[in-house]
Symmetry: C2
């Protein structure tokens, strides 16, 4: 807590904790601002070497004329802010708690902004991510995955013991998994909160396949003292051959499972029941079905976990976003633009830029050429007649037709598809204002 704040000394209970929590997180973010700009970070100005990240941000250099080198990925400041605000209000309006999936960006600065905007906590997928979160002061984590590694479980137990305000929930989907957890956690101080994962269909991803399987898992949990059953969860993004109807049907199964577990007294040990679902493709359906959840024996934390919304994209999520179905609720903005330079133009129908698989998501779609920044005068024009047709490790292959105006030296601005595999190729990402000035940097930990 700030030493000069006398008002704070009268604050008690959760509110006081929240403030100290926040101040702790801000301290840790300050450390990121004090990191040195050097060869570890792609695309940064060579003449900024030795500055701190904070000092470089304070210089407000222009992305195009301030010494940045290609390839360089940029995040649009306004789009980030817009997306953060939009999902905050969306979750509020629909009575959902929000634990955005942090695997998307793995950026403590974005986590902080998500928490400032009322997020309950941050979702994780694997223990390594949990370690990054804890190192940056994240107090509430939903691990949307099974966790059966004894080493990670013992580390988790030590974190729970060290910090009474650390709230943690993870999936269980098998009796064997419960046994492994119990074995690793014997003798630890606080039980680990778990939710039973209901699989999204017969050939879907993780999750117990039937209600009977879920019940067997819940019973195994109840037989331990190391675990506490607090709810049910799953991932509707893996419903096979998904349609709104199929997703709705599965969500109804999930909600019914919560009701039936509650009726059977399976949540007797918890003060709050967790019901969680919701990636970035179906949160409208999640909101709709979760709204129908009847009153249970305890307050219910309806937890949405969308992650990709933070940057959105120009491919997969442009196509899949629920806002396409509910445009009256808003629209996300793609925040990424990857800039690369034309290094070769060997024929009238080919060009090559210096960004490749190392720089751009390439698992779902190729990047989309959007604009060209002219090397001669800095003007920007649409990338008419230019298409990315292939990626090498360090090159993108561009096909150009007769209308394409493209020369060696020009920069090509590209949209990307799939935020999760875009963030993970960059450890420090410039955040750019509409006038091109870089006012911030997003640090990632993959």
């Amino acid at each position: 807590m700030p030493a000069d704040s006398t008002a704070d000394s009268t604050v008690e209970g959760p509110d006081r904790l929240d403030r100290s929590d926040r101040s702790d997180r801000l301290d840790r973010l300050d450390r990121l601002d004090r990191e040195t700009v050097d060869h570890r970070f792609k695309g940064l100005p060579p003449d900024a070497e030795g500055l701190t990240v904070g000092e470089l941000a304070a210089q407000r250099r222009n992305l195009f004329t301030g010494g940045f080198t290609t390839p360089v990925l940029a995040l649009a400041a306004a789009s980030l802010e817009h997306n953060l605000a939009l999902l905050e209000t969306y979750a509020e309006r629909h009575g959902l708690a929000f634990a955005p999936h942090g695997k998307t960006s793995m950026s403590p600065q974005l986590f902080a902004r998500q928490l400032e905007r009322g997020a309950w906590g941050i979702t994780a997928a694997v223990p390594h991510q949990l370690r990054v979160y804890r190192a940056h002061g994240i107090r509430s984590v939903f691990l949307a995955n099974e966790l059966v590694d004894p080493v990670a479980l013992r580390w988790l137990a030590a974190e729970l013991e060290r910090d009474p305000d650390f709230r943690f929930v993870c999936y269980v989907d098998s009796v064997r998994g419960v046994e492994l957890m119990d074995e690793a956690l014997r003798g630890t101080a606080r039980p680990v909160d778990v939710v039973v994962e209901l699989g999204a269909g017969e050939d879907a991803r993780t999750g117990a396949r039937s209600e009977a399987d879920c019940t067997a898992v819940a019973e195994a949990v109840a037989a331990t003292t190391t675990l506490r059953l607090v709810g049910v969860a799953g991932y509707e993004g893996e419903v096979p051959d998904a349609t709104p109807e199929r997703v709705r049907d599965w969500l109804h199964r999930l909600v019914s499972l919560a009701v039936s577990f509650d009726k059977d007294g399976r949540f007797a040990d918890t003060d709050e029941i967790v019901v969680s679902a919701g990636g970035s493709a179906w949160f409208d359906t999640v909101a709709e079905v979760f709204a129908e959840l009847p009153a249970l024996s305890r307050p219910v934390l309806k937890l949405l976990r969308s992650g990709a919304y933070v940057s959105h994209d120009d491919g997969q999520y442009r196509r899949l976003t629920p806002f396409n179905r509910v445009p009256e609720e808003g629209a996300l903005e793609p925040a990424f633009r990857l800039w690369a330079q034309v290094v070769s133009r060997p024929t009238g129908h080919q060009a090559f830029v210096n960004a490749g698989k190392r720089d751009a998501a390439h698992d779902l779609h190729l990047p989309e050429a959007q604009v060209v920044r002219d090397a001669r005068d800095g003007s920007v024009r649409p990338a008419a007649g230019i298409a990315v047709t292939r990626l090498s490790d360090q090159h993108a292959w561009l096909t150009t037709d007769a209308q394409a105006d493209l020369e060696v030296g020009d920069w090509v601005g590209m949209g990307l598809s799939h935020p999760c595999t875009s963030f993970d190729k960059w450890q420090l990402i410039p955040v750019v204002e509409p006038d091109g000035s870089v006012t911030d940097f997003i640090r990632t930990f993959f």
Copy 2:
């Protein structure tokens, strides 16, 4: 130079430079050993937090029982050493200089071992890589790409001025590119050495398409004072529909271009002519054709640039390696194994491990399930009846048949396809002895 070495004071010329060069590089590697083990690095033991990397290596912990968490990528120490030695002797035997492509590993420690084994220098693809190399004391760099970014060129010129022993060569493939380089380099002290890149075919990647185009580029270089033409180069790995005959034909074109440029006096300003080709799929053909190169007016540096050999793989390069055609010259060994844990086994025909696109190369082939380490007793068995059929961001989908013996908690050891997209998912990679002890860590800079 070491202060206590009196013998060194009598050494003069290149040998002396080599020793100081080596000592400088070793100093910089020591710095990597002094990095702190923390949340930045996936898979490392949580209880090693706060140790230095060197201290953790000195503990020789076991990969399976020493507190490492899944997913974790491991490099086999013996296979690395074998591969490093094999390409050293291969290049020697065929009279080739060697500048292994550093983009594969981006690991200063592996670069040091490549240089210890006689490599001429290290190959790079983009300016960021060059910065990493220079930060770790690499003195000779072949940039197998065009470089037309004025910011990067001015940084390069400053490096060349600062360090008279820095040797640098890059591609040029267009008159426009030469003009951009010349413009950026005006007034700098040392000219930048360039080789004309001959494209590998009509619809291949970068490189001037015809001998006439190459000549025009060479003439543009000759008209500058900022650039010096030192040779010709290209990448046979992009010969369209490659067969040994087509690759041989293109290499003959490359060699003929060197001969004709030399005949025309285009290498008058250099003491040594550079002729370079050779990725990891055709170095046998490169060796064969480069052996036929007639005497030129100056000594010729025949520069091979293979990079993927260092780890080799269990997919793309297992299939493409030239050693399949010349088994009498040796065989590379796949050095990577990705270990992940079964977190879910929802049906008899499905299992899920906690490694996905974030952890495994997935651009060319899926990982290959090779072995299972039993969670109960630590025994290791072949991954019979187990296949990886899909990757999510943080999961691999496994299909299992009736013979598969696989339980939640078991570790699955997987082979990977494509070294370049395997290294780049890990910033610190344990190097493992046959008995499982981790004796070293490979730091990467992507």
